[in-house]
Amino acid sequence: MENAFVQVQGVSKWFGDLQVLDHVDLAVAKHEVVCLIGASGSGKSTLLRCLNMLERIEKGDIVVDGQSLTSGKVDVNALRRKIGIVFQAYNLFPHMTVLQNVMLGPRKVRSLSRDQSETIAHELLQKIGLESKAHEYPDRLSGGQQQRVAIVRALAMEPELMLLDEITSALDPQLVSEVLQLVRGLTEVGMTMIIATHEMGFAREVASKVCFLDGGRILEEGTPEQIFTNPTELRTRSFLARVLDAEKMA
């Protein structure tokens, strides 16, 4: 792809003897929403963590906004300012209030003043209807609330790319939709996103491209219509069949 915002080229990675990524190629353009689907252990999380250099790649290259991550000259903190990541386990800082959690990035990384940081944080919390929880500690919030705070904590950095790593997988089912609603809003304003998810319905709705990962490789890639209605690979079919079965039972 010409001028892709993110270009993953032939990336391979091992954890000891286990190969977790196997010659992965992926291109993501600005404003694209790419959904990664696949079983646990298929490499989705690892791929996302390689994109912001939480994990190192052993073969291949990743180019983000024109910068190669394997060049050895990367300012990793500057890269991470551009990329927001939200984890399955929310990872809010428990010793800080909700407001302080959201303010930390703007204050210490973007070096904004306390007032500016507070304003940004309050606005974001207002947008997600959690303004009233600003001075609470994370342990007082539900999982869905904590995850939404985690999302706006990442957004407070005004990233150009958002990586979402199965952010609803740890939530009670009734809390999932409020989080998906927030993510839907982000896709509508054109945020470039790579989303690892088990929520097939959601992926179908928001993705411009869906990638099925299996054993560390992208087995199949296409539009949601192609992947969900008419997958070509056998393993894609059986994965989708299993997932849809599970959804029927739930």
Binding site: F93, V109, Y137, D139, A154, A170
Partner: protein, 238 residues
């Protein structure tokens, strides 16, 4: 019955008890001074050693090795020996400023050297107990290693280790009595003086009571802090 009476008279004789108090109290003020200064110094230095111990990268290897050597040496050597080395050795060097301090100062130095080593291990355990996902989350926001440590990891680490930390401080408070071996005129040595002059032992009990009087509030304060913190940090997702 006679034995009980003997015990009561030898250790708890009210007359001697009251007589010993002013002397022992004068000595105990030296203990208090040593413990407050040493505790403050230990808190700062121990955190520094713990941080150096955890510095990443090949370049920091000599620093890490130094930190390990320091903690190994001062945790492995009896405090009384360290006290002798500092209290008799430093003056023996005859090197101007460092050889002319008071015994109390040497006592503080010895206590600080030893307890920094113990407390740095406590801090290190605390730092390592903070889940790596916290570090990942902090670094993912763009915080540098130093910023992530300062704003996210260390605040959590320190809160977690308050009980063992205060436990070590109780140890330090008691060990201020040990430095009497280099001639510091603190509670234990003054109790001993009084005992020799008076021919009985209530002065020792007086000294013990003084120590207990500051240890117990510290223990209750620890309990209070732990309960407070537990409330706040109970629900992290994983």
């Amino acid at each position: 019955m006679h034995a009980l009476h003997q015990v009561l008279h030898t250790f708890f004789n009210p007359h001697s008890f009251t007589l010993a108090m002013p002397d022992v109290w004068a000595g105990f003020q030296v203990n208090l001074k040593m413990m407050f200064i040493a505790e403050a110094l230990v808190l700062v230095f121990a955190l520094m050693v713990a941080i150096v111990r955890g510095l990443p990268g090949r370049g920091a290897k000599p620093l890490r090795a130094l930190a390990i050597a320091y903690t190994d040496f001062f945790r492995g050597t009896p405090i009384i020996l360290v006290t002798f080395i500092v209290g008799f050795g430093l003056p023996g060097l005859q090197l101007g400023f460092i050889s002319n301090r008071s015994f109390t100062v040497y006592g503080i130095i010895a206590l600080t050297l030893v307890y920094t080593a113990y407390v740095s291990e406590v801090f290190r355990a605390g730092i390592e107990s903070v889940h790596p996902s916290q570090r990942s989350a902090a670094r993912s926001l763009g915080l540098s290693y130093g910023q992530a440590m300062r704003y996210v990891v260390i605040p959590q680490a320190v809160r977690r280790v308050i009980p063992p930390l205060l436990n070590d401080f109780v140890g330090l408070q008691k060990d201020t009595a040990l430095v009497s071996v280099i001639g510091v005129a603190e509670a234990a040595s003054l109790a001993q003086q009084f005992s020799t002059q008076n021919g009985d032992f209530p002065s020792y009990v007086v000294a013990a009571v003084f120590f207990i009087l500051i240890t117990i509030p510290l223990a209750r304060f620890t309990d209070h802090l732990v309960a407070q913190r537990e409330q706040r940090e109970r629900a992290q997702a994983f």
